[in-house]
């Protein structure tokens, strides 16, 4: 039965309701929202003078109304200890989304914790420790003292390399400048932890090392550039589902020709037309379909490339551009270096490229034309180049990323309006930490260290390896065994005898055990193995700053209370730092205690922001909460360069002066020769197994579904990780829609729910990434690139039926594509 809320009216916010700035918790785009709250015992009315919108709500509202909110945007929450009605609705005045809400952000209301409406009752509200053979609630003092004592003992026995950390490094909820600084100061300043990894990959590394090595920061344009581009060239990304409102509010208008007036106004003196788009993706995504629906069919080119061969295509495009003489010779001479060597080394003929990539030679030539051929009036074309996980987590990350930047530099597609060479992003960004230079490069492969029995204590900040790693079956198996050794040891002595308890824990660690501490907002799968859970607050329960994919910095204001005693991660880090200091002092090690002394006195998240961002970020000295609050949901583009007339002054685009982030200011071209499938064993896997198990996100689910598993509206559509399959393949395997299948290969096995997909190529399946019920990581081998970036994408396996998905009878399995002939 299709889920319905049965709600047919909602309370109306009164005229004097409180209105606060919110940036969406979730993706990189960071849509602007408003949190509207008012006392529980009051309501507004339908008349314009009775409600906060000044709107006649006795009338039907028109399309894109700024005054409508859906039931998912409403809740009853606690605010400063008092019950309030809360509406979190998209902000029409925000330049990012113009009032659009995604299916993820539009549910922020109902994903808030509420004891009144029963939402997110799974939230962690009190610290929990392993005591009397189960997780038991306890105090902050008790839990932090335990964590600090065990961590101290591990450091005494193994040094700081015995401390293994998994931590977010991003913005948005479960991140933000406050919290990356808090954790960063603890592990990179007070300590010098080098065995640390990030939420979605097994090491502490950049996903775009190459771009940075070439002097090109990966977020170098602004969203308006997608409206101004002549051509958008996008590799390995599915923006309609993953950067939804960036695509809908900025790309689609350009493809429709709706931004022509803006182009003529801002870029006078050159020819303009509706935007063209080239999408490189082995799969026909809903983004491709949407582009074909809104744009002239002759303006959309989908290059359905052989998986893992993007590098060859990019080299061929560079070769063709140079052969045609379309490269930006003056720019290359004045602002770059290494062009000739790279152009020579990377040369590949169109025919060879066609053979490897599986693309028609004519399409590769056409792509080169769309990217670089001068416009009708002879002016240089403006091409925006964008990429994301298809490239980042695809084959040969470093060289492929470099090849993309090569093409952008050769065509001067960086630092001009309507251009940019950018990653599209997953989470928002919010990174400010003390130097991580001691981590080294390549960084430690943390998940392999854990599997290999190393480390004694594991601090986990909003990361769930059990869902989001590669070689996941082995990881889970070993992790459970190691942490269980410590649980049994803890069970052997009374909890109240701390000395005996520590002795037992340390003995277990010496036998190969691991003590595990989870900081999170909700119970996690890895948390089932942990010994301590510390409850964190999320955005809106704390003030939180982040920047989006165009470096737009904003403040989400605190509009409600966290559950129970949950605290912002920054303050948890601070209290853990203080507890470590105390533990070392009690143990008589004043020298080590001094490493923490005076560093963690923050009382609020604003203290952490001022200590971190304000003092350490580029332009941070201009930025305060008060100033950001005044900038609203439009915020300011980083880096901030000044504060004038009450407004922060930002930087819309980087590198407009042709000065790049290298010692001499010249961007570097790179040699990026093709070397086949980089990860050992994948080429053989491809020969041996019937299906490519491509994988990635879908529109409905955010990240690893930490909220969505608690949300019936989503759970109904995604009871098990869906796998898109060609109907012909299904017939061969005797599969029906909704069947539960096992996906298995030489690495491991996992499960998925069959979703018939007529546009899927035979032999190419696509599975939801890091789903809680069907982890694709089980069948992904441990191989990474030279900098420990996993290749999650190029994986092959077989598929067999193991049953039918419970609940699938109620699901619609119709095509997810909009019928463009309608």
């Amino acid at each position: 039965m299709t889920y319905k809320r049965g709600i047919d009216q909602l309370p109306i916010p009164p005229k004097d309701a409180r209105v606060q700035n919110v940036v969406c918790d979730f993706c990189i785009v960071g849509c602007g929202y408003k949190a509207i709250s008012w006392p529980i015992d009051r309501q507004g009315g339908a008349r314009p003078d009775q409600n906060v919108f000044g709107e006649d709500l006795a009338q039907q509202q028109g399309a894109e109304s700024a005054s409508w909110y859906s039931p998912s945007m409403y809740n009853v929450v606690s605010q400063n200890g008092k019950l309030v009605h809360l509406v979190i609705k998209p902000d029409k005045a925000c330049e990012v989304n113009g009032g659009l809400s995604s299916v993820r952000g539009g549910r922020m209301g109902e994903t808030r914790v509420s004891e009144q409406t029963g939402t997110m009752q799974a939230r962690l509200g009190h610290p929990m420790v392993w005591r009397y053979s189960q997780m038991m609630p306890t105090s902050w003092e008790d839990s932090l003292a335990l964590v600090a004592d065990v961590t101290r003992r591990v450091i005494e026995e193994m040094g700081e390399d015995g401390v293994i950390v998994s931590a977010f490094d991003h913005g948005g909820a479960a991140g933000g400048y406050e919290n990356t600084w808090g954790t960063g100061k603890l592990y990179f300043d007070a300590m010098k932890v080098k065995n640390i990894r990030i939420h979605n990959r097994p090491a502490y590394n950049s996903e775009v090392h190459a771009s940075r090595d070439m002097g090109v920061g990966e977020l170098n344009n602004c969203y308006e550039d997608a409206e101004l581009a002549d051509t958008i060239f996008v590799v390995g990304a599915n923006p309609l589902e993953n950067q939804t409102n960036y695509f809908l509010a900025h790309w689609v208008p350009n493809l429709r020709g709706d931004t022509l007036d803006k182009k003529r106004q801002l870029l006078a003196g050159e020819a303009h037309a509706a935007g063209r788009i080239i999408i490189v993706d082995p799969r026909r995504t809903v983004s491709v379909n949407a582009c074909e629906t809104v744009a002239d069919r002759n303006n959309v080119l989908h290059l359905a490339i052989n998986p893992g061969t993007d590098l060859v295509l990019l080299n061929a495009l560079l070769t063709e551009v140079v052969a045609r003489g379309w490269h930006a010779k003056d720019f290359i001479a004045q602002h770059t270096k290494g062009f000739d060597e790279a152009a020579t080394a990377n040369k590949v003929s169109i025919d060879d490229a066609a053979s490897i990539t599986g693309l028609p030679a004519a399409d590769i030539r056409k792509a080169a034309q769309w990217i670089a051929e001068p416009k009708a009036d002879g002016k240089r074309r403006r091409t925006m180049m964008a990429y994301e996980k298809g490239l980042i987590w695809g084959n040969d990350n470093y060289r492929t990323n470099a090849a993309m930047v090569n093409l952008a530099l050769a065509t001067h597609s960086i630092g001009r309006e309507g251009t940019g060479c950018v990653r599209l992003g997953g989470h928002q960004e919010g990174y400010v930490r003390p130097s991580d230079a001691h981590v080294g490069r390549p960084a430690a492969y943390v998940d392999q260290l854990l599997i290999g029995g190393q480390g004694g204590v594991h601090h986990i900040w909003a990361v769930d390896h059990f869902k989001s790693t590669l070689n996941a079956e082995e990881f889970r198996r070993v992790y459970r065994r190691r942490t269980n050794m410590v649980k049994e040891a803890m069970d052997s002595v009374p909890y109240g005898d701390r000395a005996a308890q520590l002795e037992q824990i340390v003995a277990a660690i010496k036998r190969g055990g691991l003590f595990s501490v989870v900081v999170d907002i909700l119970p996690t799968q890895i948390g089932e193995a942990a010994h301590v859970w510390l409850p964190a607050a999320t955005a809106g329960e704390m003030n939180l700053t982040s920047m989006n994919g165009e470096r737009r910095l904003r403040l989400t204001e605190r509009y409600m209370d966290p559950p129970g005693e949950a605290m912002p991660d920054a303050l948890i880090a601070a209290r853990l730092g203080n507890a470590m200091e105390e533990s070392f002092r009690r143990a008589g090690n004043e020298t080590y205690a001094a490493q923490f002394k005076g560093k963690f006195g923050w009382k609020t998240e604003e203290d952490a922001f001022m200590d971190g961002y304000n003092q350490n970020a580029e332009g941070g000295r201009f930025v305060t909460y008060e100033r950001l609050r005044a900038m609203g949901t439009n915020g300011v583009h980083e880096p901030v360069v000044g504060f004038e007339n009450g407004r922060l002054i930002g930087t819309k685009r980087l590198y407009t002066d042709g000065k790049f982030k290298t010692d001499d200011g010249r961007a570097k071209f790179m040699k990026t020769e093709w070397r086949g499938l980089e990860v050992a064993g994948r080429a053989q896997q491809k020969e041996k197994y019937a299906f490519l198990i491509n994988n990635g996100r879908n529109n409905l689910v955010w990240q690893n579904a930490f909220y969505d598993v608690h949300t019936p509206f989503v759970r109904e559509r995604m009871p098990i990780a869906p796998i898109e399959m060609n109907p012909g393949d299904m017939a061969k395997l005797g599969l029906a829609a909704g069947d539960l299948v096992e996906v298995y290969n030489d690495v491991g096995s996992t499960q998925a729910m069959v979703y018939p997909t007529p546009t899927a190529k035979p032999g190419q399946a696509f599975m939801l990434f890091i789903a809680p019920t069907g982890q694709v990581g089980n069948v992904i081998s441990k191989g990474t690139n030279e900098f420990m970036i996993p290749n999650y994408k190029n994986v092959w396996a077989n598929i067999r039926r193991i049953g039918h998905t419970p609940g699938a009878e109620g699901m619609s399995f119709k095509s997810i594509e909009y019928p463009k002939d309608l």
Binding site: G6, D8, Q61, G62, A63, R256, Y818
Partner: protein, 176 residues
């Protein structure tokens, strides 16, 4: 498709440009007379009017009929699907009626007879008419409001309620 040219036409116009979008949205609201059925303020839930929509013999299988419910400002469709479906009404359990204002941003949904879905030309959302309006893909944070139907002995079909909040309203039956 022939039965609801207005919805289809609005759908096409949505793609013309942002200006046309706004005009189409406004037209959907203002072009029809308002104020058909009004209910008194209830204590907890909305009292719905009963509105006769059609007689079974007026309907052809898979040809949607435009309707309005609970008042003239709230467009919808009535479809005889030809096979029993969850939530279907009538002697064959195959009569369904839905709001055609997309619960994402209020754009007019268009019926695709090929796979019996309602589709939003604004942002590509899709709803399954054979599964109580379940969103197949899209941006709406709720499934499509379905109008509850009754059918009397003469075959007259009436709408008597709705199971989700209709786009653009804080109350399904407007208070005025």
């Amino acid at each position: 498709m022939k039965e609801c040219p207005k919805l289809v036409e609005l759908g096409r116009r949505q793609f013309l440009g942002r200006g046309a979008l706004a005009a189409a949205g406004a037209a959907a609201v203002t072009a029809v007379p308002s104020g058909a059925a009004r209910a008194a303020l209830p204590a907890a839930r909305v009292d719905y009017p009963t509105s006769r929509l059609a007689n079974i013999k007026d309907l052809k299988v898979n040809e949607p009929m435009p309707i309005h419910y609970p008042d003239m400002d709230s467009p919808g469709v009535l479809v005889k699907l030809g096979a029993r479906v969850p939530g279907g009404a009538g002697p064959d359990g195959d009569l369904v009626a839905y709001s055609t204002l997309c619960p994402h941003k209020g754009y007019p949904l268009a019926y695709d007879a090929k796979d019996r879905t309602l589709n939003c030309p604004g942002h590509f959302s899709r709803f399954d008419c054979e599964k109580e309006g379940q969103q197949v893909w899209g941006h709406a944070t709720q499934n499509l409001p379905m109008f509850r139907l009754t059918v009397d002995a003469k075959g007259d079909i009436s709408a008597v309620g709705a199971d989700e909040l209709i786009y653009g309203r804080t109350r399904n039956v407007l208070q005025g």
